[in-house]
Subunit: 373 residues, 2 copies
């Protein structure tokens, strides 16, 4: 590694949109970037080599909550860490477990210390604190470790939000203290709900810590999407200029474009993989539901402007047939296409920012992504 | 194609075991061979390129019954045939639909003309005759077309078997008349149940027809496996010497070895792919159930003597974890291993026959395959 882990170099800008490079222990990441989600040590339906070679994925995400429950970070550590366990030698970002504790588990008991919760699988009691979350993520051998935060429901009262922001800040200090692994980068998470002033207040707190990156958290909890866009538009570019900015759990191709325009560098979302398995595909001509009867005898590729494995080798009729008959190949081909599409969207965004054609590209994407076929 | 479609050249023998080459329109097949089953235009969990490059598959099977019901051979024909539809450019063998009509569908009405049945999917009425089966298989563009036969339940009365054999022979004559596609090879199917004399009587009938290959049908219908082996042992080598011999729907790795020893050249079976998805794996050290607790932290590969993608890149602990969490990658990795294993079994059998070490290899396999880990 010729450059220091955590190094963040901006290569070009267009308005608030940036093209940059982040150095991690397992290699460099070119931003803007989308990170496919590998919840339980696998990006569903994909092999690591396919992610790298067919999709162009540069970094993937692992879920601390899920891996803690199964198989357990102790086992993964014994087996040489998450990279070796899942056969992926590129960068990995792990979330803190906070979001899943709040969205998946039952019977939570919050305290200053942390969160006691019951597993959504077998109901067994678990406890996660900032220190525990750091230990798990360090045991996994994560390249980018997320601070343990509280994730609020939507909507929440301003007083409740402010209380939670303060807790998240105290937890960040404890996360920072506990994260001692020098190969890993710790990112702080800005909370504050959808209110601009609260969000800025949280940003002041969180970004006052000296950390290699920052995220906007607390989205994808049921809020109206236009409110998220309005807020991200106002706050993203106020995050530290010389650090990567990560918008957690977002979103559609349109969300990516609008958020890159607002100054965001990194994204993750289960959307492209999840909807692929349900037969929904993103294309340069808009969103497609592959089960539609009109595709029954259609010999044409899903997306004539796409050069992914799926679009190169199969007809819409084949995708429809294998989807309707519940074949695994349908999940595979649809996932390959959607992830390839997402990675193309950010790759072309980067190129446009560097080439000085960002506004043109952005407007073209907005026009395309608001169509439905 | 430098050699005539249907050409069958024996390259070596050891006792009744043979190593040969069969020329089809889509290329040559080296026997003994195992044919992965691609029921509904996909070998479950696999891509065609993986079958070719990772597994070494030379020919795959398609199911006439399933493809007739969904998406329909008319659609596949319009789209350029089964090879193009499913992106597989190697040889394809299709069964006649007979076996599935008898095992899957309800409310069958048999007549001299054919079988009326209701779809196992939506209950709709269908009719398959020898002529209809040939039309479907020709529309699919199959390289090896199986004659339409009656498949009896086990056990059946000798008088019933004899009646059925005669019908199967009449249907073969009609199949032969109807199969007019010069790129395809028609194989006849010997029936006759488990009785030696009846089986030989059927063989006399079926093999009196001038056809490029013959199969033993009517197995895998619940009969005790040792009775099948006894019968195959007695009859396989009496099938025409200069034609490929195909044992339909069989079997375990042990079944393959014993049947190759009896003179069989070709096999197909859903077993390796089906049990893979259920976590059962065949190895050179015996059968393995991957979900066993002892593999929880096991860093070693599934089969240290195997060089498949799965055994090269993943631990037993990872295979167990992804199987228990229901991840698609588990079906993929397990299927890759099992199919690779089956293809290795027949590839090494071929080599042993040609090298004059068949008996040694056979005995070693029998010893290995009767172990359970």
């Amino acid at each position: 590694m010729d450059e220091k882990v955590g190094n963040f170099k901006i290569a070009g800008k267009s308005g608030n949109a940036r093209a940059a490079e982040l150095t991690t222990f397992h290699g460099k990441i070119e931003t803007p970037i989308f990170m496919p989600v590998g919840t339980k040590a696998t990006v569903k339906a994909m092999l690591p080599e396919e992610l790298k070679e067919q999709i162009g994925a540069q970094i993937i995400l692992g879920n601390t909550y899920h891996l803690h429950l199964r198989p357990g970070e102790d086992i993964i550590k014994k087996l040489g860490g998450l990279h070796k366990f899942m056969n992926w030698d590129g960068p990995i970002l792990t979330d803190s477990g906070g979001f899943q504790v709040f969205s998946l588990s039952k019977l939570r008991k919050m305290s200053e210390e942390g969160v006691e919760f019951r597993s959504h699988i077998d109901g067994r009691k678990h406890f996660i604190s900032p220190e525990k979350s750091m230990q798990i993520q360090m045991d996994l051998g994560s390249d980018i470790i997320m601070a343990f935060d509280e994730c609020l429901e939507y909507p929440a009262e301003p007083s409740r939000i402010r209380e939670s922001m303060a807790l998240t800040h105290r937890w960040l200090k404890r996360s920072k203290e506990a994260m001692t692994r020098k190969e890993s980068l710790l990112f702080g998470i800005v909370q504050g709900g959808l209110d601009y002033n609260l969000r800025m207040e949280s940003m002041d707190q969180i970004c006052s810590e000296d950390l290699p990156g920052f995220a906007l958290g607390g989205f994808s909890v049921g809020e109206p999407i236009h409110l998220m866009h309005e807020l991200v538009d106002k706050v993203a570019h106020k995050m530290p200029e010389n650090k990567p900015r990560y918008l957690m759990g977002v979103g559609t191709p349109l969300d990516l474009i609008l958020s890159i325009d607002a100054g965001i560098d990194m994204f993750d979302c289960v959307l492209p993989t999840r909807v692929a398995r349900n037969g929904t595909l993103y294309t340069w001509q808009g969103k497609v539901s592959i089960k539609r009867a009109e595709y029954k005898e259609d010999p044409s590729p899903l997306d004539p402007e796409c050069d992914c494995y799926t679009c190169t080798n199969y007809s819409k009729a084949y995708l429809r047939h294998t989807f309707l008959t519940g074949e695994i190949i349908a999940s595979r081909l649809n996932t390959i296409h959607n992830l390839h599409f997402y990675l193309q969207v950010v790759k072309r965004a980067r190129k446009a920012i560097l080439d000085g054609t960002w506004e043109e590209y952005r407007d073209d994407c907005v026009r395309r992504f608001t169509q439905t076929r």
